[in-house]
Each structure stands twice: as C-alpha cells, then as structure tokens.
Amino acid sequence: MVEVRLWGSLAAAAGGEEMLEIEAETIRELFARLEERYPALKRFIDAGIAVSIDGVIYRDTWSKELPRDAEIFLLPRIAGG
Amino acid sequence: MSGIAVSTTINGDDVEFLCQAEETLLEVLRDRLGLTGAKEGCGTGDCGACSVLVDDRLVCSCLVLGAEAEGRNIETIEGMADGDKLHPLQRKFIEHAALQCGICTPGFLIAAKDLLAKNADPTEEEVRFGLAGNLCRCTGYDKIVRAVLDAASEMRGA
C-alpha cells in the first residue's frame, strides 16, 4: 500500500480525491489500479503521467518500484525547450 | 533567359559564373559556387550572417547582386585561414568558446576581421558597436567580445 498525491486536474478527475491509498509495487501497477478505480483517469495516463518519488521525477519507467514510505506525487508529463 | 556571365576573384582565385539578374551574391556563393560558409539568416541585411568583404568593404552578401561581383575581389570565410593555419580570430573564437551553434560565426569572423583592419586596438565599446550588425542568439556576445579583444591584442603583438 502506497500513498499517492495527485495534481489538481488529476484530482478533479478522481472525484476530487487529492490523496489516494493504492496497493501497488511499481509504477505500472499504480497506473493499472488507478485506471480500474477511476476510469476518467485513463485519458491522463494515455497522455503521460510522470511520477515523483521522494522528489525525483520518473517519466517513463513502468518497472520502477514504489518504496512503502515514499512521498509519491503524480504530475503531467511536460515538454521543455 | 540567358544568364549574366561574371568574372570575379574569390579568396584570391579567379572565378567565373553565370547567374540570373535577380540572384544575390549570397545565392551565387552558396548555390552556384558551393561556398556555404556565408549563411542566410534573414535575407534583409539585419543579421550579418552572410557578411563578406567586397574590395575590402564589409557587406551583407544578401544585399549585393551576383552580377555586381564583376571585376571585384571577394573574400569569404572559406578564405580566412591561411591553408591549415587558422587566422588568430578563428583560433580565439574556439579558445574563448565564442560560438555555440556556430551559425553566426562566419559572419562575425569576417566582420571582426574588418573591424580590426580599421582599428587594431579597439575598446570593448568599439567592438560592441562595430559588431552590432551581426546577431548571435546563443552566447549573449560576452565570449565573442572577449575573443575579438584577445585576438586584437595578439595581432598587435601585445
């Protein structure tokens, strides 16, 4: 079980929940559980979600493990110059 | 339509080419003569990337017609080094990292050479105003100005 915080727009799509408890070991599992629970999130997941684990942003790595007591925050994938 | 036959001197070599009346010297250099060191950044004389010397006069080659090259002596970036020996300005540009992307570099080098030919010991302000016709978007000009001042110093034997 990990605690996951959502950015504003994602929280709105998750019925206003800013923090969720999810049973997930990896980023891939996290996305799967989120989509099951809140189908409205699929669109965001397809568009790309970055996962911040203790302040380090992971953009692409599904297999990344989610430590139990880590600070996990979901962000949109972003573009740079 | 028949072209205009032009005989000219480029980097010390006799060169002949045919061009259309409306073709610019820049187009002739790049597209007919394969001298792509001069760049087209704007085509309107506002960026200096196409700078060349015509009879020792600094110009934007985008604002000169190819036909006007007849009988002239043209110097481009390709003629700046002496064989494999770089001109001091070229060396200093590399040493000072006075270039990043490098697209403006040929124009800057030609303009800087002209500047130092007229003023061997310029102040920073003279360098800045002397090179104001050459745009650079990468460097903020800091390292370019330093490179030119350092090259001037070396060329004076100081």
Binding site: - | E22, A67, G133
Partner: protein, 286 residues
C-alpha cells in the same frame, strides 16, 4: 529582369527613360534588394549606377561638397573634411543600418526611398542640402525636402536620377547635429528623429537655425517655429522648452509598431533640444 551597368549618366537616363515596365536605380541596394526579397516589387530593369565615375565621388569645391549619389555612407564617414564641416550629416548617414549596410547604402538612396524615418534626411534638410537631379530634359537642383512627397513617393519624373547631394560651405561658428530614438543601440529604424543646424552670431547667440524632424509625419518636417524658438538665444532653458514645445506641436505622427503618437510627439521635443545643444557646442557656443 535585366541588370545593366551603364558607364555614363546619359546612358543611365536613357535606359530608365526608355524602360518598359518597372525600372529601378541600384545604388547601394540596401532598400531595393530588401523590397525585391519581400516580393514588394518585381523589377523588369535594374540600372546600377556604380559604374558611372562621377557619381562615385565626393568633391570638395569652393562652395562646399558634392556627394555623388553612388557614394556609400561609409565613404562619407571616411572623408575628414566632410566630417569636419557637416558632422551632423555624416553622423546621420553613418547611423543607417549596420557596418555592413554602411558599405553599400547612399544618402541619395536614403532620400529616394522616401521613408519618413530615413536617418540621413532630417540632417540633410536641416543642413539645407540640395539634390541635383539629372533627367531626359536636363538637370535641375531642388531642396532635398522637395524630393520625397510621401511614404515611398518622390517628385522624380520617369528617367530622372539624383546625381548628387550638395552641401554648402559652412560659415564659421556653425554646427549641426542629428539624433534619433531607437529602442536598441543599433540596427533599428528611427522611431523619431531630429536634425538641428545652426550658426552663431558674433555675440554668441544663435543667428540662424534649421530644425528638421523625422518619423513624425508623412515626410520629414522642417519646423520653422522650432528654429524661431532658439534664434537669438544661447539655448537657455526657456528657449529649449519652447523648442521642445514647437517640435512636439509640429509633429503629427501615427501609432505603429515602432511607437505611439504620444511617445513620438514628446520625444521629438526631447531629441531636438539635445541635438540643438550638440550643434551649439559644435558651433563654438558656450
């Protein structure tokens, strides 16, 4: 399109007079080639006047200077006598474009391009310069301010060429100056500009003056009220205020991408006073 490099002025006039379609004079080309590149014009004939020997010279005579219409502005800047006699005119000519453009552009071209923002024109107007115009029916000499008639328009008839710009010999204790406002330090077109030319009397006060403004109307303005404001004065604060007011009042600019009406009117006055001070100092005023 045809490109011709005539060897004589008469040949050039003949080519232009006889041209079918759009014919243009090529001196420095720094406006002409930009307009071609932008597809604003499609010339059928270009007459390059740089092959005409007499147009490529600056001649100093007993009466002053004759600047040939094919003389690049950079060459004007290299002429010590001209620079000494007409520092404001030469400064103005040397503000057009970059060093690269300086090597090509000419004051005659700047005049005939007929932009209200042309840098050299206010200085030439203030200087009382004249244009020698050669055409199929002979030569005529007119005040430079009578050449442009509106943005992009001149009083030149078909086949006519500006042969030279004539600047008079300076009376002693005279000075001129030109200032323009640009947002950057180089490479811009004047948002507003001012040329001032004055001569001091034996008493050290301004005996005569001409004040011209650029980029504040369809053509460069010669503002007699502005000159009146400083004649008879030593540029005291009241005179300068009057000069500024006269310039601001005379200006009838437009709002455009380079500046606003309000800005141009205000800064016209500011620049005129600053230019007047420089001219005054150059004339030996204290």
């Amino acid at each position: 399109m045809e490109y011709v490099l005539p060897a004589s002025l008469n040949d050039a006039i003949g080519l232009l007079a006889g041209a079918k379609g759009n014919a243009f004079v090529l001196a420095g080309g720094s406006d002409l080639l930009v307009r071609m590149k932008g597809d604003f014009i499609e010339p059928d004939l270009i007459v390059d006047i740089k092959g005409i020997g007499e147009l490529a010279q600056i001649v100093q005579t007993a009466d002053g200077f004759t600047v040939g219409s094919a003389v690049p502005c950079a060459v004007m800047g290299e002429n010590t006598a001209l620079r000494k006699a007409w520092p404001g005119v030469v400064e103005a000519a040397n503000l057009i474009g970059s060093k690269q453009v300086q090597g090509r552009c000419t004051i005659a071209g700047n005049l005939c391009n007929a932009s209200p923002a042309a840098d050299s024109v206010p200085a030439l107007v203030a200087a009382g310069a004249r244009a020698v115009i050669a055409g199929p029916s002979g030569k005529r000499t007119i005040a430079v301010e009578d050449v442009p008639t509106g943005p992009g328009k001149t009083s030149l008839a078909k086949g006519e060429i500006v042969e030279a710009i004539v600047l008079d010999k300076r009376p002693s204790n005279s000075g001129d100056a030109y200032l323009r406002f640009i947002p950057r330090t180089e490479m811009d077109i004047a948002v507003v500009s001012a040329g001032v030319n004055l001569t001091l009397g034996a008493d050290g006060a301004v005996a005569s003056a001409r004040v011209a403004l650029g980029a504040v109307a369809a053509t460069v303005l010669l503002v007699s009220e502005a000159a009146d404001a400083i004649v008879g004065t030593r540029l005291d604060d009241t005179a300068m205020e009057k000069l500024a007011q006269a310039c601001s009042a005379a200006a009838s600019p437009i709002d455009d991408k380079r500046g606003t009406v309000h800005f141009r009117k205000k800064v016209a006055g500011v620049l005129a006073t600053r230019a007047a001070r420089i001219a005054y100092e150059r004339a030996g005023g204290k």
